[in-house]
C-alpha cells in the first residue's frame, strides 16, 4: 500500500540536521497504524511528505506499489492538525469540498453526496449543525467536521493528524466505538498521529515510535490484540500490559 525507504527530509539546505533521517516504513492495505513521537519530531512533516505537499530530499515513496516521484497530490486523504474549515462555508459546504475537486467520473451526483454527508453528520452528532458556519461550533465539533470531510474524499489511505486530539473524553470514546464498529467495512488504510497511548493501542495494528533525535531510528510495536475490538477493552490485562510496554519504551528514552 505505502512504503517508504530511507526517507530523509530537512526544511532548508542550510539546516544543520534533517527533521527526518533514514526513515523506512511499510504499510499494508487495510492496516491501521499509529505514529507516536514527541512534539517536533516531524510527524506532521512526515504526513506532508506522504501527501505530496513536500518533496523528500532523497528516498522513494511507493503508494499502491507504484513509485510516486512527481505528483502524489490527490492520492491520499489528509487531515491536518488544525481543523481548517473554510469560515465562509457552512458545515455541509465544507464537507462538499473534496467532491468539488474530484474530477473522476466516479465522484457521483451532488445530491447523493449531500445525502451521504447528511447521514454521516447525523452519526457524528452534528445533524442539527448542517447549515451552521464553523464559527458557530465548539472546538470539538469543528474537529469532527474536519474528520468527516477527510472521510468524504473517498481515498483508501487516510493520513489523520491528531483527529481526536481536541475531542472530549466522551465524544472520543464514542468516536472510537464508532470507528471500531465501522472499521471492518471501511477497507481503509490509516496512518494516525496521536498523543493518546490508549487510543493508539485500541485502534492500531502497529505503532511506530518516532525518535526525538532524527538519527536514532524508529521503533515499531505490534499490537496483537484480536479484531474486532471493543471500545471498553482498555481494562483487559493484555491491553494494560501493552500499554505499560509502550510507556516504558517511550519514557526510558526521555527520562533516563
Amino acid at each position: 500500500m505505502l512504503s517508504l525507504d530511507d526517507l530523509t527530509y530537512s526544511y532548508s539546505q542550510s539546516h544543520e540536521s534533517p527533521i527526518i533521517q533514514g526513515l523506512s516504513m511499510n504499510v499494508h492495505a487495510g492496516e491501521f497504524i499509529s505514529i507516536i513521537g514527541v512534539s517536533g519530531s516531524g510527524k506532521s512533516t512526515l504526513f506532508k511528505l506522504i501527501a505530496g505537499l513536500l518533496e523528500p530530499n532523497c528516498c522513494e515513496i511507493h503508494i499502491h506499489g507504484e513509485k510516486c516521484t512527481t505528483n502524489r497530490l490527490g492520492e491520499v486523504a489528509y487531515m491536518p492538525q488544525k481543523d481548517l474549515l473554510l469560515p465562509w462555508r457552512t458545515v455541509l459546504d465544507n464537507c462538499l469540498l473534496p467532491w468539488e475537486f474530484n474530477r473522476k467520473p466516479s465522484r457521483g451526483h451532488k445530491k447523493e453526496v449531500i445525502a451521504n454527508i447528511q447521514r454521516m453528520l447525523e452519526r457524528f452528532g452534528l445533524g442539527k449543525y448542517e447549515h451552521c458556519y464553523p464559527n458557530e461550533l465548539s472546538g470539538g465539533m469543528r474537529q469532527r467536521v474536519a474528520f468527516l470531510r477527510t472521510l468524504i474524499t473517498g481515498q483508501d489511505l487516510l493520513l489523520l493528524d491528531e483527529p481526536f486530539g481536541a475531542l472530549d473524553a466522551m465524544t472520543k470514546k464514542e468516536m472510537h466505538r464508532w470507528l471500531l464498529e465501522l472499521w471492518d467495512d471501511l477497507f481503509k488504510t490509516v496512518l494516525f498521529i496521536t498523543h493518546d497511548l490508549e487510543e493508539a493501542i485500541l485502534l492500531s495494528d502497529r505503532i511506530y515510535l518516532l525518535p526525538s533525535e532524527p538519527d536514532q531510528g524508529v521503533q515499531e510495536m505490534h499490537v496483537n490484540l484480536p479484531r474486532p475490538r471493543h471500545y471498553v477493552m482498555n481494562y483487559d490485562p493484555h491491553f494494560i500490559q501493552l500499554r505499560q510496554d509502550l510507556e516504558q519504551r517511550l519514557y526510558e528514552k526521555t527520562f533516563i
Binding site: A51, L73, A77, Y78, P87, P98, N102, R103
Partner: protein, 258 residues
Amino acid sequence: MRRPLYKQWVHDYGWFVLLIPLLLVSWQSVVTLGWVPSFIIPAPTSIVLALFEDSHLLLGQHLIATLEEVTLGFLLSVIGGVMLAVGMHIFRPIEKALYPFLIISQTIPLIALSPIFIMWFGYTIWSKVAIVFLTAFFPIVVSTYDGLKKGDGDYTELLLTMGAKRWDIFRTIEIPMALPSFFSGLKLSIVYCVVGATIGEWLGGTEGLGYFSRRMSSNMHTDAMFASILLLSLLGISLFITIVIIEKQLLKRRGSTK
C-alpha cells in the same frame, strides 16, 4: 440582533444627522454675517436655491452625463483592475514588471496630460472615461492584489491534498479571502471616480457636473457652482452607499474570516 431597523439606523447615524443641521446653521450665519464673502462660499440657502433654479439642467442633463462617465469608467476599472490584480497574483513576473508602472501612473497629474487624452479619444465621452479609469484603477488593483496575497498557506495545502488544481484554490480560497479587501478598494475607488469624472470634464466637453461647475465658476456664479458640487458629492456618496450595501449583502451570510 432583533433591534428594529430604524432604531439601528438612528444609533448608527444619529450623531451624523445631528451634526448636519448644526454645521449648516453655522455656515449660514458665517455667510450672512458677512465673515466670508458669499462669492467665495455662498450660504447653504442660496446653494439650494440655485439647485432648484437650474434643477432642470443639473439633474436632467449634467448629472446623467457625469453618472454615465462614472459608471463606464468604474466598471472598466473594476474589470481591468481585477484582471491585472489576478494576473499579477498568478504570474509573478507581471507583478514585478508592472507594479512600478502602476505607481508611476499615479504620480502623474492627469490634467497635465490633457492634450494626449484629447488626441487619443477626442471630445467624446471616452476621454473622460479614460480619466475616471485612471483614477479609479489604482486602489482596485492594489487592494485586490493585497487581498489575493492573503490566501492562507495551510488552506492551500489542505486543498492540494484533495486534488485541487490552481484554479480550484483560486476559486475556493483566494477569492473569498480577497473579497473584503477587494471591497475596501471598490469603496475608495468609487469615491475617486467622481473626482476623476469632474477632472475629465474640465478637459473639454459640453456636459457633466464638472463642466457646469467650471462654467459657473468662470462666471462667478458661485452658488450655482456649489450646487453642482453638492450634486457631485451626493452622487459620490450614493455610489459609495450602493457599494456598501452590495458588500453587506455579499458578505453577511458568511462567518467571520477570523
